[in-house]
């Protein structure tokens, strides 16, 4: 069916944070300039193994995100490649001006890795639940913004980020996710993956919402609606060609993200549509709300991030096709 998809969608055998750490160690084995910079969440984010392997290449700044980002900028100016690893909220929101001016403005080469994306922050609640991190990072000129759907893609993205000069933001969750991809699937940053073909509506998703999109496709199939599912793992720069082709061929688009619908995937896709090929479109995501404590399932339900929500909005978009 696909060059990408695993035969069955099962819970992964490794946690996303372990995938990150393994990928970073692999990159660091090849490139002596890779440095792990932390601000006191090494246990939570799972990079202890990196520290054991490369004790001299792990720098834990303590609880000071603004300084840590600036420090990364200085290291980068010396030719090092810092991977700065923190909760998504604090890596972006707390250190925004430092990311903007100490990194991006001066063309540094720093990779920011934000953990606990959106509702996956669960019990840490509203203070630690980033629904705005991708939006903030999209506003930084030249910043590449990525959200991988599973561990296979996460590892590839870390390798490619390490090998490409520039500032990157990648957000992910720490626990196990549903494995979407075959181990040998190939990805390219900035190039969307069309996971399933479809003719009536395109569902464009990122991160944990890719699996929900695949489930929504089955719900829609029962109703006789054919959905194309696209993994838009790179939110910026957006693969506009893929978005436009989907709009031309399906005539309706739904986006799905574990993020505020303001500033994230939905907004960037809708901008591309309205400038190039306007079609009925709907956005699934958090509708301008703060986070709160709860299980991931509960939070996905109350913020409207389930396959059911995607299917409902897909039908709505399809129903609007002839009214435009």
């Amino acid at each position: 069916m696909s060059d990408y998809l695993a035969e069955r969608f099962l819970l992964d055998t490794i946690e996303m944070r372990a995938a990150y750490c393994d990928a970073l160690i692999a990159a660091a084995e090849e490139n002596p300039d890779i440095i792990d910079v932390e601000s006191d969440v090494q246990y939570s984010m799972g990079t202890r193994k990196f520290k054991e392997r490369f004790p001299d290449r792990t720098i834990n700044c303590g609880i000071m995100e603004a300084h840590a980002v600036g420090f990364c900028g200085g290291l980068s100016s010396m030719g090092y490649i810092p991977f700065y690893h923190a909760f998504g909220t604090f890596a972006t929101r707390r250190a925004f001006d430092q990311v903007f001016l100490s990194l991006a403005y001066q063309n540094m080469n720093v990779k920011i890795v934000g953990g606990d994306a959106g509702v996956t922050a669960t019990a840490n609640g509203g203070t630690h639940m980033p629904f705005e991190d991708m939006g903030l990072m999209r506003l930084v000129p030249g910043m590449t913004v990525i959200e991988p759907a599973d561990s296979v893609m996460y590892k590839t993205a870390i390798r490619d980020m390490a090998n490409t000069y520039g500032n990157y933001y990648i957000r992910s969750c720490r626990r196990k996710t549903i494995k979407i991809y075959r181990e040998d699937a190939k990805f390219q940053i900035g190039k969307a993956n069309v996971l399933t073909q479809g003719t009536d509506v395109a569902i464009i998703a990122c991160g944990i919402m890719v699996y929900q999109a695949l489930l929504a496709r089955e719900i829609l199939a029962e109703k006789g609606v054919s959905a194309r599912v696209i993994d838009m793992h790179t939110i910026k720069p957006l693969d506009k060609g893929c978005v436009i082709k989907a709009a031309e061929e399906c005539g309706a688009v739904v986006t799905a993200e574990n993020h505020n619908i303001i500033g994230g995937l939905g907004e960037t896709v809708c901008a591309a549509l309205s400038e190039n090929h306007p079609v009925p479109s709907e956005r699934v995501g958090v509708e301008d709300k703060f986070g709160q404590v709860g299980t991931q399932e509960y939070l996905m339900e109350i913020y409207g991030l389930t396959a059911k929500d995607i299917a409902r909005k897909a039908l709505l978009a399809v129903s609007r096709k002839n009214k435009v």
Partner: protein
């Protein structure tokens, strides 16, 4: 090192700065003037740099965290030979390589971009840490203003610098006791800066900030301190530019060529009185 020669260097850097600002018609004159003597000492022999090879890997590095005083740094760089002094007249002109605030992507000899106050010291700590990992003997100097030390990020950086014993990093405070809106003491007093630095774990040196020879000696001592250090320079905002040596607002002034030439003549007159 020659005391008169450094004083002359400082006078030339001041004149180049004032004339560049007159070309633009305005500038951050107060803080630029207060830092000229430190720049004269740094580029007059304290820093191991080569203007013909600005990317020399094991060079010393300067982060001018009070980035709005870029014009004084540009004057020092031009005087040192990084680029022709004529280029200073393009300060803030459309398409210039010499913008108000330091930009490492534009200006030859600028190591780090600055302008959002409080960020330079963290960047400098990364540079110093990187120099140490690379095995370079390089020193990293970071100039902050006393008003700028109100930004909390500086104190994050100082904790980090002390903890990691970055003895190749020298923090220089241009303690001109004024910030944009007035006297630091009246806006949000710094209390005792030396005590604060010492309690954070830095070795502290105090020095007159308008005696380039004394600054030179003090920075040489700080380089050999064997610990991260802070050099607090006692300075006056606007020092050396006669129309800016006023108790009122001198953070940013409109400057025309007549004012500039009169100020330059006064600089020469004072130097000849030395």
């Amino acid at each position: 090192m020659n005391g008169y020669s450094l004083k002359k260097d400082a006078a030339e850097i001041r004149k180049l700065t004032i004339r560049a600002m007159a070309s633009a018609g305005y500038g951050h004159i107060g803080g630029s003037m207060s830092v000229c003597d430190a720049l004269a000492a740094l580029y007059g022999g304290v820093m191991h740099v080569d203007p013909s090879d600005p990317d020399m890997p094991d060079r010393d590095r300067l982060v001018l965290s009070k980035g709005h005083c870029g014009p004084a740094l540009y004057a020092a760089l031009a005087y040192k030979g990084y680029f022709p002094a004529e280029e200073l007249a393009t300060l803030n002109a459309n398409g210039t390589l010499l913008p108000s605030h330091c930009d490492r992507l534009k200006t030859r000899g600028v190591d780090i971009s600055t302008g959002s106050l409080g960020q330079g010291l963290s960047l400098a700590s990364g540079v110093a840490y990187g120099c140490r990992m690379r095995g370079y003997a390089s020193k990293v100097f970071c100039i902050v203003g006393d008003g700028e030390l109100q930004e909390g990020q500086n104190w994050e950086a100082i904790q980090f610098i002390a903890h990691h014993r970055l003895d190749n990093l020298i923090l220089i405070v241009d303690n001109n006791k004024r910030q944009l809106d007035g006297y630091t003491e009246e806006i949000c007093a710094q209390q005792n800066l030396a005590d604060k630095f010492m309690s954070f774990g830095l070795k502290v040196f105090l020095c007159c900030g308008h005696d380039p020879e004394a600054i030179f000696r003090t920075l040489e001592q700080a380089k050999e301190a064997g610990a991260p250090s802070a050099v607090i320079l006692d300075t006056e905002k606007g020092k050396g530019c006669v129309f800016a040596e006023i108790p009122g607002f001198n953070h940013y002034m409109v400057i025309d060529k007549t004012m500039a030439e009169a100020a330059c003549r006064e600089i020469d007159r004072r130097l000849s009185d030395e």
